[in-house]
């Protein structure tokens, strides 16, 4: 099982903040998980789109394994 989390405008566009996915095969690229989650709305998402895997910055080409938590969000603005 893979946990998917969405934040900020990504959350608003996709209409969900947390979802559990049972992936047929793992590992998968983060971009494949996003495509399955977003469908046609992938075109509406902000660019660049940031990715974190298990709470560390990653990228759309990073591999997500069974048990991982993958998060999608727009560029950050702390401080």
């Amino acid at each position: 099982m893979i946990t998917v989390r969405c934040f900020a405008v990504v959350r608003e566009i996709l209409g969900c903040d947390t979802r559990s996915l049972v992936a047929a095969t793992t590992p998968q690229r983060a971009s494949d998980i996003l495509a399955a989650l977003a469908g046609a709305r992938v075109a509406d998402l902000p660019k660049p789109l940031l990715v974190a895997i298990n709470c560390e910055h990653a990228s759309l080409t990073s591999l997500v394994h069974d048990g991982d938590e993958v998060a999608f969000f727009p560029p950050v603005s702390g401080g």
Binding site: A52, E56, P74, P75, G78
Partner: protein, 142 residues
């Protein structure tokens, strides 16, 4: 190293005293507050969303990296989230070091890293409506 994420306000001096760092010589603090205008729009409040588990992990990595690189004796980071009115404090970064140059460099490195790496997102609330603040991408992912 102390990392805190909270909705409540903080008192920078009381937080520093509580840590009671002895013999550091130099202490540098940064306090960021909600500005009342942005691109000529009046801002009444800021809504700050974050990714709690990752925020804590990322702030710890940022603090530890600055501590090692700039010889900091102690690091304190307090970042608020939720809805903050204009002029409210958002963030406190305080560092202690034996020498002033390291304290300034270390504090600034942490504040810069917060801007580009810490998973916070801000929505500016103004009379005309709400607008997400454009964010930044970590340098090593560009």
């Amino acid at each position: 190293m102390i990392i805190r994420l909270q909705t409540e306000d903080f008192d920078a001096e009381r937080e520093a005293q509580a840590l009671d760092v002895k013999g550091a010589g130099a202490r540098v603090s940064f306090v960021g507050t909600v500005r009342d205008t942005a691109q000529d729009r009046t801002i009444t409040a800021l809504e700050i969303e974050h990714y709690p588990e990752m925020t804590h992990a990322e702030l710890s990595r940022i603090g530890a990296s600055a501590q090692a690189r700039h010889n900091l004796q102690e690091v304190l980071i307090i970042h608020r989230y939720g809805r903050l009115a204009c002029h409210e404090r958002i963030v406190l970064v305080t560092v202690w070091s034996a020498h002033r140059a390291e304290a300034f460099a270390g504090c600034q490195a942490i504040v810069d890293a917060l801007k580009t790496r810490a998973p916070f997102w801000k929505k500016e609330i103004s009379p005309e409506g709400a607008l997400w603040v454009p964010g930044q991408t970590p340098q090593d992912l560009k």
